[in-house]
Amino acid sequence: MTVTEENTANTAAAGEAVVPAVSRGERFSSYDVEAFEVPGGREENWRFTPMKRLRGLHNGSAPATGEIKVDADAAPEVRIETVGRDDERLGAAGTPSDRVAAQAYSSFTSATLVTVPKETKASKPTVVRLSGPGEGETAYGHVQVRAEAFAEAAIVLDHVGSGTYADNVEFVIGDGAQLTVVSVHDWADDAVHVSEQHLRLGRDAKLKHIVVTLGGDLVRVSPTATFAGPGGDVDMLGLYFADAGQHQEHRLFVDHAGPNCKSNVLYKGALQGDGAHGVWIGDVLIRAAAEGTETFELNRNLVLTEGARADSVPNLEIETGEIAGAGHASATGRFDDEQLFYLQSRGIEEEQARRLVVRGFFHEILMKIDIPEVRERLEAAIEAELQAIGV
């Protein structure tokens, strides 16, 4: 067994890897909102979230007043359905683990189901555009992406528009299936989005789950990966760019309950402007039965200006010695003076040098997004972010 660890903190707050008093594996989950107490904000799960800005999603005071609009541009092989609450396929990937997710589960009226049929390779990426209910309105939703056995596809969930929105997103990955998903959160400035994403991998399934968070007032995405059989392999990648006043929170949980699965987590964020706040929590649990597990998680934050803040808390719990490898790293820093000096000493102006460094910082993740349309759009979005503050 090898456990590697790296923790460097230059500025802001970078977390020590901690094993919490209560194991992450003990976290309560339920489909019923009333089974959860109303969180006050001090709970481990909520301590970084500005509760007031949740607009009542967490305490039952936010009834649905609108709906999420769903438009799909699907590959011809991929089936898109709108189904009712009673569809028995729903809930297969996981159970809500916090009150907002349970509220969403208790409140949605119809769900979007995206199915990649078994042994089918989709000929192009499927884009599902989810538009917010509008400023001042609240909506709850549910999306399930099903890749049946040995299916192969790329799915983009593109979140845009205004309003307050909570949902559960399920990824049910059949045996031997290979799926790439990109969940883009490119909301308007007013939007609040709380999303629990349930990733359930079948035997020998491969999932690349990419979260991109750019817009919104408050975005909180909680992806949880579980394995239904051995040989599962999940890549969880994230890229976020928070501007002044934005709260972007990503809470990951990888639950290795069975043997011989792999997980690799890589999240990178840039933060700029007063009150920009990035939170990254990476919980990885390797249970006693999870022999042969291989896992690594990494979070890096680049704090571009004064007044921006990043919290980063990796957390690795290991209950068996028989693993292939486990490690984590977390670092938060400002611009590296040496890098800027080197570039400038070659005549490159400071502003351009900064842009090169930020682009370079995200390059590692962008290169892993193998959907050219999405990658190009993200590159453009990063350029726009850089333009906005003139770094």
């Binding site: 003076d337 000493s345 102006e349 040098a353 910082f361």
Partner: protein, 257 residues
């Protein structure tokens, strides 16, 4: 014909413990066409001198002047200095993850030349220069200096020298960490550049072996934060024989400011 004048330069390094004076009055004039070897023991302040001239933010010039054709370099930002014609080949080139060498070189050349080089010419130019320095073409797509060996980094510094065509080049221990073959390749690169351009060079080194490949017009001994002796090639021969000991003592007695 250009002139770089360093006049009574004092500089301090900012550390966590505060500020510490390293340069204690450096005087040196370099003209185009001249190669000045600056030789000194470890810790004498050679890199500090080159960083102070290039404008590294950690090094604060406390007094003195650096003039490029009469213009005060110290008033310029780091990138302005480079565009004015100064180049520093660093002792420890910096890694810039995610920025490809080709993107970096083109950005730098565009800045220094004032316009983007025509793509077709540029590709050929880079290819030719890389070939001369025995740099494999795959390096173009690698991140700047990331994972390069010491020798690979030094070759890339000289590649930048060739592409950015400065008026004055400071080569800070470009020879250290090079094996015999790499030392020859790198020296050839420097010699080719000086032969074909009107350039002044400050060749900073700890050892005399690079002077067998690159022939200096002047040799200066640097100790205790300043130049303590200047001469011709014969001074290097003397250093080869007897080392720096007597100069360290000399600096020690006179440098108590």
């Amino acid at each position: 014909m250009a002139t770089l004048e360093i006049k009574d330069l004092h500089a301090a390094v900012t550390t966590d413990e505060g500020s510490k004076e390293i340069l204690k009055g450096v005087d040196l004039t370099v003209r185009s066409g001249e190669i000045h070897a600056i030789m000194g023991p470890n810790g004498s302040g050679k890199s500090t001198l080159s960083y102070a001239i290039a404008g590294h933010p950690k090094y604060e010039v406390t007094s003195g002047e650096v003039l490029l054709d009469g213009e005060n370099v110290l008033d310029m930002s780091v990138d302005e200095r480079a565009r004015a014609g100064l180049f520093l080949a660093m002792q420890y080139p910096v890694e810039v993850p995610g920025v490809s060498m080709s993107n970096f070189l083109r950005s730098a050349a565009t800045s220094v030349r004032g316009e983007a080089p025509k793509l077709r010419h540029w590709v050929k130019e880079v290819k030719d220069e890389m070939a001369k320095l025995d740099i494999s073409s795959e390096f173009a797509e690698r991140s700047v200096n990331e994972g390069f060996s010491g020798g690979e980094k030094k070759r890339h510094e000289i590649l930048q020298l060739a592409l950015l065509r400065p008026k004055f080049a400071i080569l800070d221990e470009t020879d250290s960490g090079l094996d015999v073959d790499a030392l020859r390749v790198v020296s050839d690169g420097v010699n080719e550049y000086t032969a074909n351009n009107d350039v002044g060079v400050m060749l900073i080194t700890h050892y005399t072996r690079i002077l067998k490949h690159i022939h200096p017009d002047f040799v200066h001994v640097f100790a205790g934060g300043r130049i303590v002796e200047s001469g011709g090639k014969e001074l290097a021969d003397e250093l080869e024989e007897s080392g720096y000991v007597k100069y360290i003592e000399k600096a020690g007695t006179t440098a108590a400011v």
